[in-house]
């Protein structure tokens, strides 16, 4: 997967993937935790509020029921309900609670026996058709608590009350009769209590009658009756206590139920789940933004970091490419991380080693070549020896003893210098001596077909020169200039100092060489069978190997005019040149 991708890419992608993974895991865990807690809290809150409301209501109802019972006993135990003392007692009892509206006592036929306070009743009224009257008679001895309703007893009064009623046996006008006691309590208290409750922004509390499923109180009761709203009471009716999720409507609601035992009502709290979870959705959004921000930062950081790492590597690569193209001089710059820095260092060391090795190989090759050339040059052409000895034999036969002596002497000197002591460097004096001996031998052999002259400054004689560099040139002059010519030729060797250089000129006035011939000579394609076997090229090569490429031979040749070969090399003392020779 990562093959062929850049470090920058690999680093960025892996860092991003890893961070995103971590962030997502952390967010999910946090979110889950938070969501669960928030939901639990919402449930608990809702339930607590409902519990409190129902507790207050239960207290309220209980206190009212207690008051009713107190009045009930007061009335039923009294000798005559019409007596003023009873009335005053009941009035005192009623005044203990502000929300009592009225107390009324009816006989079985619905005739009013007593009421408190004394307010005019509607004339056309028959209480026997009222719900509270019926239920009191239907269940004797049981306290009936009605649903809130508009009391239709009194003139010019339409009050919302909860009616408490119970059948009662009273003493009236000396007779013991059956009747119904009614206490009306203002519904206002309950209404206000329930209205004040808030469950979140939109949540509310409503009260449900357990037995028939009628709604006792609801903040939007009118809308429900008008069919504009719908309250799902099923869930609340099913449970006596607890909090539940209601998903029947568009909005998911939390329904909390608590039953008020003494009256058979249920307090139901309705709160909206999304409201409770607002913080969750906000958290969700924040998390998402955090995630995005972190990803961006990671992208930024990883690109910076990976570039920091990869750039020095790329630079190193560039240095390597240079080396590839043969440029060993540039060193790699070590920067960036330690590893890259070390790598650059190692690379530089390696380049150094390679350079050293290469130099070594060049040197080795050069010296090897030099020894080869020297070995070659050291060979004396057997042909030359044979010719010379032949001449000697002839001269002996002709009794030219003196000439024989000269020739043999020259030959021996030639060999002495030629062999030397295995040294490749000799003085110019020796070199000239060698040349002269060679010339003497050749002159005798060629029966004075040429004459020669050797000129040398006194100053140059002690300078060093490579061995046997003049002789091949003389041989060349003989072979190409003098021999083919019919006239008697002249060979001139001249050594002089030109600045820091020594210049040796070997000139003849022979035939001269054509351009083509010159080239052949220079490239070593022509080797004279009569010569010593050491070619002009050999000389050239040796000079260049020893002194450098700027030195060497130079030919000036003109047909019918002759050839002049110039050797140029730096002036060196013998010791210096020998030291250099050995060093290599």
């Amino acid at each position: 997967m990562m093959r062929g991708k850049s470090i920058q890419y690999i680093l960025s992608v892996s860092i991003i993937l890893f961070s995103v993974f971590i962030i997502i895991v952390v967010s999910t865990v946090l979110y889950g935790r938070f969501a669960t807690t928030a939901e639990e809290n919402a449930f608990r809150n809702s339930q607590q509020i409902v519990d409190q409301v129902s507790y207050s209501l239960e207290n309220n109802v209980q206190a009212t029921a207690d008051l009713f019972n107190m009045m009930y006993h007061t009335i039923s135990l009294s000798g005559d309900v019409d007596s003023e003392t009873i009335r005053r007692q009941l009035e005192t009892m009623m005044s203990t609670r502000a929300d009592t509206v009225s107390l009324a006592l009816f006989d079985e036929k619905g005739q009013l026996v007593m009421d408190l306070p004394n307010v005019a009743m509607k004339q056309a009224l028959d209480v026997r058709s009222e719900g509270w009257f019926q239920s009191a008679l239907d269940t004797p001895g049981h306290l009936s608590i009605s649903l809130p309703h508009v009391q239709n007893l009194y003139k010019e009064q339409f009050r919302w009350v909860v009616s408490l009623s119970k059948s009662i046996t009273i003493n009236h006008n000396g007779k013991s009769i059956q009747g119904v006691l009614l206490l009306d309590v203002n519904f206002n208290t309950i209404d206000e209590l329930s209205d004040r409750v808030s469950l979140g922004e939109k949540g509310y509390v409503y009260i449900l009658d357990e037995s028939a499923g009628n709604i006792v109180y609801h903040p939007q009761l009118q809308l429900i009756y008008a069919g504009l709203k719908d309250e799902n009471v099923e869930l609340a009716l099913k449970h006596t206590y607890g909090s539940f999720i209601d998903r029947t409507a568009d909005d998911t609601k939390i329904i909390s139920v608590q039953t008020i035992g003494n009256v058979g009502w249920k307090v139901v709290g309705v709160s909206y789940k999304n409201e409770a979870m607002t913080s969750i959705s906000e958290l969700n959004r924040s998390m998402f933004q955090l995630l995005l921000a972190l990803i961006l930062i990671v992208v930024l950081l990883s690109s910076i970091v990976s570039r920091r790492i990869s750039r020095p590597i790329k630079q190193l690569e560039l240095s390597m490419k240079n080396v590839e193209h043969g440029n060993f001089e540039q060193t790699a710059i070590g920067e960036g991380p330690l590893e890259v820095w070390q790598l650059a260092d190692r690379f530089n060391i390696m380049i150094g080693t390679i350079k050293k090795l290469m130099r070594q190989i060049v040197t080795e090759q050069e010296s090897k070549r030099k020894y080869e050339l020297e070995a070659l040059q050291a060979q004396i052409n057997p042909h030359f020896l044979y010719n010379t000895l032949n001449s000697v034999v002839r001269m002996v036969g002709m009794n030219k003893n003196e000439e024989v002596t000269t020739m043999i002497t020259s030959l021996s000197r030639l060999f002495r210098i030629s062999l030397g002591k295995g040294k490749s460097v000799i003085t110019i004096a020796d070199e000239l001596e060698h040349a002269r001996n060679y010339l003497v031998i050749q002159q005798m052999r060629f029966k004075n077909k040429f004459d020669y002259s050797i000129e040398a400054d006194e100053a140059v004689l002690n300078y060093a020169t490579l061995k046997l560099i003049i002789q091949p040139l003389i041989e060349n002059a003989l072979v190409h200039g003098i021999e083919p010519s019919v006239d008697k030729g002249h060979i001139k060797v001249k050594v002089k100092l030109d600045g820091q250089d020594i210049v040796i000129e070997v000139s003849d006035d022979g035939l001269g060489m054509s351009e083509e011939r010159l080239n052949q000579v220079m490239t070593g394609q022509v080797t004279s069978s009569k010569g010593s076997g050491v070619g002009v090229t050999n000389v050239q090569e040796r000079i260049r190997l020893f002194y450098g490429q700027t030195y060497g031979l130079h030919f000036d040749s003109e047909l019918e005019e002759g050839t002049m070969v110039t050797i140029r090399f730096p002036a060196m003392e013998l010791e210096q040149a020998e030291g250099r020779d050995q060093a290599e």
Partner: protein
């Protein structure tokens, strides 16, 4: 990618990340305000008196609580004060409400107002009284014309299809009054033996209406009366009660009040045509909110009317309708 561009992109990424971080730690930093809690709705009522208008206000309040919006209510003391109401309405435009719920006292006079509101792209929901002089998003209220017809049919029914009747109307009955009257007149044509003999115009409170009815009763022998709004209903009922003519002269009224209901229990009037002002207030706010949010709202929402008589007035659902305020 050259260096300059890289730097610019880096800075952009960094700034974006910083903004996101800031937003993550300060909720609402990037959010646009489009929630209903920031919405204000202006409610302009014809009056703040009487159960009817209080009930409208209660319904509106219920919607406010449910949707979490902000509501401002203005109302005139006198239902007939067209000029005052128009002025208040024009002023309320300056506060730039998101929507207006309007119970107008007059149709034509509010033409300029509706135009001004439309110019400011403020949706107007008409409640109680329909408006034809300009563009409203919706009308929420009773079908007053049909209600008028129903009132006459009911009276004809009470009179066994024959008799002389009169309309008692009121200067402050407004648009609804005109529509109801039209309904009554059109329905009367369907009953050959019902004769619409007179039209009593009263103004002011119910006592002055009583006086007008009293004057009418002296001049004319009537078998039935249709009173067109609450003040004229109370005035007529009180006059009938005073004259002990409740059994003889049948009365059909509009809207309800405790005193009317009590007189109904005393047989001073037979039927009341009652609407549900709570629903009206509630729906007014609800549709105003939806219109402000750009949702589609029905152009006409009819509020159910109820025919209340002595028998059904204490039914459970009617109790809440007739006695909305727990006291």
């Amino acid at each position: 990618m050259n260096r300059r561009r890289r730097v610019i992109i880096s800075i952009l990424i960094f700034v974006t990340a910083a903004v996101l971080l800031l937003s993550a730690f300060n909720p609402g930093f990037l959010e646009r305000k489009s929630r209903t809690s920031d919405m204000t709705i202006q409610v302009i009522l014809r009056s703040n008196e009487g159960d009817y208008w209080q009930n409208v206000a209660m319904g509106a309040q219920a919607a406010v609580k449910e949707f979490g919006i902000t509501m401002y209510v203005t109302n005139s003391y006198d239902q007939g004060d067209i000029e005052g109401q128009l002025q208040a309405a024009m002023q309320s435009l300056e506060t730039k409400p998101d929507a207006i719920v309007l119970a107008a006292s007059d149709d034509e006079s509010f033409g300029p107002f509706l135009k001004a509101a439309a110019d400011r792209h403020i949706p107007v929901i008409a409640i109680d009284s329909i408006l034809t002089s300009g563009k409203t998003k919706s009308y929420i209220g009773m079908d007053n014309y049909t209600a008028g017809k129903e009132a006459l049919d009911e009276l004809a029914n009470q009179l066994d299809g024959q008799g002389d009747i009169a309309i008692v109307t009121h200067t402050a009955a407004g648009i609804n009054g005109r529509l109801r009257e039209q309904g009554i007149r059109d329905a009367a044509a369907n009953h050959p033996d019902i004769h619409l003999v007179d039209r009593v115009m009263c103004s002011g409170d119910h006592d002055s209406c009583s006086a007008s009815v009293s004057k009418e009763l002296q001049e004319q022998k009537l078998d039935g009366i249709v009173a067109i709004n609450i003040v004229s209903s109370i005035g007529a009922a009180m006059e009938l009660k005073k004259e002990q003519a409740g059994e003889r002269i049948k009365l059909i009224g509009f809207d309800s009040s405790p005193e009317l209901l009590e007189m109904m229990q005393d047989n001073q009037l037979q039927k009341l045509i009652v609407q549900n002002p709570f629903s009206m207030g509630y729906l007014g706010i609800k549709y105003a909110m939806e219109a402000a949010l750009g949702h589609k709202v029905p152009s006409r929402v009819e509020i159910e009317r109820k025919l209340i008589d002595k028998k059904n007035m204490f039914w459970k659902d009617n109790q809440k309708l007739l006695f909305p305020v727990v006291q």
